[in-house]
Amino acid sequence: MPETKINTRSPYYLKYTQSGMVQTQIDIYVYSGTKTTDKGTAVATLTKKPLPGDDYVIFEISELVRDKLTPNISTPLNNNITYVKWVQVESTITT
């Protein structure tokens, strides 16, 4: 399934909504390699609680992801694309 592109020099927001939400935790993985098998260890774990009366939280993850992108000019260009990476976000909503 085609995945969404994140352009990390601009903010990227993730919104989680759940009735009765107490808190939401996300684990962010940034990695090269294969989408479903190479995630490695999480680069960040974020936890947020909704404001009173709200049932949603919003995370901004661009800067955390961008830290892991390393532009380079090595040739051949197609063998040195280290500046495009997978991002896997695992979210756990506690109600």
Binding site: I6, T8, R9, I81, E90
Partner: protein, 252 residues
């Protein structure tokens, strides 16, 4: 627990493109024009996760590049640099980017070989708006120089004979550093190429191939005025670069 996947690029959107812009999912350059020195191939980046097809005719031979097979679920394979060579007679041609099945034309890119018999074209590569390397050339006059910074301290040059040699240095220079700079001109370009210059100015990563080596450089211009064929008739951009390393090797 829910899991979601994304592909991260070092790109950006403009304010008017709204929050969390995804941008192009086919050709990863904005301009519809690329200029290359005669007889020189140029690499153009494409997004491969979506199934796109590229068609062009070079030297009378129609060619179709189907990028569907290039994506193998690795992050690096989400981008493919396709190399385009000019016609042997150096006439321009159009690179058409279609969806799978070629029912919708997504983008047309004009490849223009440029004859430049007087100056040596300078290759510039930068991370563009889409977060990938884009190649462009400066075809016209280039001016090279360097800036020097230094410090001076006063030495005590008196010797044990209560005298000194007139050849001794009283004002000793130290900490001499130099930064090379390069001013380049694009030569006459299409108005549509403004987008490329704009993205060069907004890039955080740029490299110049000069004197046989590829060196990181920083565009120094802080003001950008859009040139148009209506206002300016012919369009040439002058860009000042500063090499992003000291002239004297002091890497420790």
């Amino acid at each position: 627990m829910a899991t979601s996947y994304y592909l991260a690029f070092d790109g950006y959107g403009y304010f008017q493109e709204g929050a969390t812009p995804e941008l192009s999912r086919h050709a990863l350059i904005s301009s519809d024009y690329v200029y290359t020195p005669e007889g020189t191939s140029i690499d153009i980046p494409f997004f491969t996760e979506d199934d796109i097809e590229i068609t062009y005719t070079v030297n009378g031979t129609p060619t179709t590049v189907d990028l569907a097979a290039d994506f193998d679920n690795t992050a690096a394979s989400a981008v493919k640099y396709v190399t385009f060579a000019p016609n042997t007679n150096n006439s321009p041609y159009t690179i058409n980017v279609y969806n799978n099945g070629q029912t919708t034309l997504l983008k047309g890119i004009n490849l223009i070989p440029v004859c430049e018999p007087k100056f040596t074209p300078v290759k510039c590569q930068f991370i563009n708006k889409f977060g990938v390397l884009q190649t462009m050339y400066f075809f016209k006059k280039s001016v090279e120089g360097f800036n020097v910074t230094d410090s001076v301290f006063k030495r005590n040059i008196i010797n044990s004979n209560a005298s000194y040699n007139t050849g001794d240095v009283q004002s000793q220079r130290f900490d001499v550093k130099a930064t090379r700079n390069l001013t380049l001109n694009t030569g006459f370009i299409n108005e549509d190429f403004n987008q490329t210059i704009e993205e060069l100015f907004l890039s955080e990563n740029c490299w110049i191939t000069y004197d046989g080596s590829t060196i990181a450089a920083t565009p120094q211009n802080k003001d950008f005025t859009y040139n148009t064929s209506l206002n300016n008739k012919t369009i040439n951009y002058t860009v000042a670069f500063s090499f992003a390393s000291d002239y004297i090797n002091n890497v420790r």
